[in-house]
Symmetry: C2
Subunit: 325 residues, 2 copies
């Protein structure tokens, strides 16, 4: 395995020399993944390349506004030649490619572009930069290397990628370079109005009610520095929502003034899924490791089986968090 | 009255030639106002100028993290000389200065720096740029003109100003220049962690409960494109909150998917205050003008007296909005 990134120049040349280019998005596609994939697709179209983005998993409705999203195609619907280059974006390992993994393994050239520190550096060529806030930032540089002018559609895709991976520039992965790139996107036709509505003003009414209900029933511990929210079948039923609609709730709990640790316990039929967030100093990754989970220091989770009761889980978490808070 | 902005060079020279400089913040000080004032104060301190920021109104607790905020002083506590230069920041007219208006009128030199399109262009010198997202952007340029190097504290103040007036770069006043400036702040020691916690993760628990309750009791009209929330004495009492805690709720209503117009009706003893927001196409400024109010096309308000009942107000608004939605 190579130790060093290939240059974006080498990657660019490989792409330009390819007869067919397939861009693989990852399972549970997100804004960075979809925005980066479509930005690269639009760029290759401007170069009249035979290029496509591969469908891998259902696309969240929040991203359906993206240009060319309807042209993300299932592999069965494509005329795939014997020799093709496959580019994975934002995918730390090949399993992230889901149903397209085999296509990656069989590619004449496999190119891996990502910003995850956990990337396994697979591929014939790779460019992994964990200093980048998002894969979108890297694609911005690659487009420069491909010598294609940005336009409004490409800029909108790259902004979607960068904004969604930085929480609209609030997360600590945001850098001077992030803002410099976005500044350039504005100079090339970026229009953020519809993007920001779709990314940040699109919680469904039912989801809003669910969030509100969970927030109203929070339990507070440790001088109100720990808040525990609970989602069970009853609350989902009463709000006509599903577990997917719990996305974003644990962050809303953390965002309350004075809260250092937010815990959301989601009770499923077969297990409890627990999400944790911290604001300033508690290492929730370490906390979740005690329960065979893990993650990042400010965002982590774990899964516990039903041998535990909800009360036991709460008691254990409250006790463990008490050591750090 | 002059027709044209003075240059920042002229303003900078006037400041450098002043023996004493007073910086006036405005009533209901906000992030742009406080961040800009303190950035300029820190800059003038680096130049060893006799400078102060004048206290005008209580400072929201969210901004107490700003450097030097404790050095914002009441005029009574300052040794004000016969000749002084007073700089107003972010204040469209002299009434915004509250208790410090007279000091402005009596200043040897009055300098007016602002980004509001409604600025009356008062002052011996003024610089009003409505293309700037925030007064913070203008102060960034002024500091360059004053030839002072940015440092971490100044950068943090300017970021607070810019981020709060652009809603973390989401509002449509954000430009290429906005991002270019923030990129430079990062290069000069900006650390956003504590700022973003204070600006965006500091709703009190009680306020969170109030918000949740209002959201859970929304009334929906016009195929769920209009949502009406109501805050009265009962809901405030039951959540132990005050009218100030309603800040931000109408935006949360607008942020629900499918909602085009959000209306929040706040019942006081003496009147009803109504806040409105729209997402894409309804002109709520025009709407509120029909009720003797006004504002911007996507954010407006009005006040109605108690000759109207809550039901009448709702009926009238629903009817008027029905024409545009």
């Amino acid at each position: 395995m190579k130790k060093m990134n290939n240059s974006l120049k080498e990657i660019s040349e490989t792409i330009l020399n390819s007869r067919q280019v397939l861009i693989a998005s990852h399972i549970n596609p997100d804004g960075d993944n979809l925005g980066s994939s479509l930005a690269l697709y639009l760029t290759l179209k401007k170069l009249s390349k035979n290029a496509n983005v591969l469908w891998v998993d259902s696309i969240p409705s929040d991203y359906l506004f993206l240009p060319e999203i309807e042209n993300i195609k299932r592999k069965e619907d494509l005329n795939i030649e014997d020799n093709y280059t496959l580019i994975t974006l934002d995918s730390a390992n090949l399993d992230r490619l889901g149903i397209n993994k085999e296509l990656a393994v069989n590619a004449s050239k496999l190119i891996n572009i990502d910003h995850h520190i956990s990337n396994t550096k697979y591929g014939d060529l790779y460019y992994v930069d964990s200093e980048s806030s998002s894969t979108g930032e890297i694609i911005f540089e690659l487009i420069k290397e491909l010598n294609v002018d940005l336009d409004s559609e490409i800029s909108n895709c790259l902004y979607t990628a960068i904004s969604s991976d930085t929480g609209s520039f609030m997360y600590s992965n945001t850098t001077s370079k992030t803002h410099k790139i976005v500044s350039k996107l504005y100079e090339n036709g970026l229009n953020t109005d519809e993007i920001n509505i779709n990314l940040y003003q699109s919680n469904s009414y039912k989801k809003t009610i669910l969030q509100s209900k969970v927030l109203m029933e929070l339990e507070l511990y440790h001088e109100n520095k720990l808040a525990v929210g609970i989602v069970d079948g009853d609350i989902l039923k009463s709000t006509d929502t599903s577990m997917e609609d719990t996305e974003g709730i644990v962050e809303k709990i953390r965002d309350i003034k004075g809260i250092e640790v937010a815990v959301l316990i989601k009770e499923n039929y077969e297990n409890f899924k627990i999400s944790t967030r911290s604001k300033r100093y508690v290492n929730v990754s370490k906390l979740c490791e005690k329960f065979n989970g893990g993650g990042h220091i400010r965002a982590a989770g774990c899964t516990l089986d039903k041998e535990n009761t909800l009360e036991q889980i709460k008691t254990n978490f409250i006790k463990e968090i008490g050591k750090d808070i």
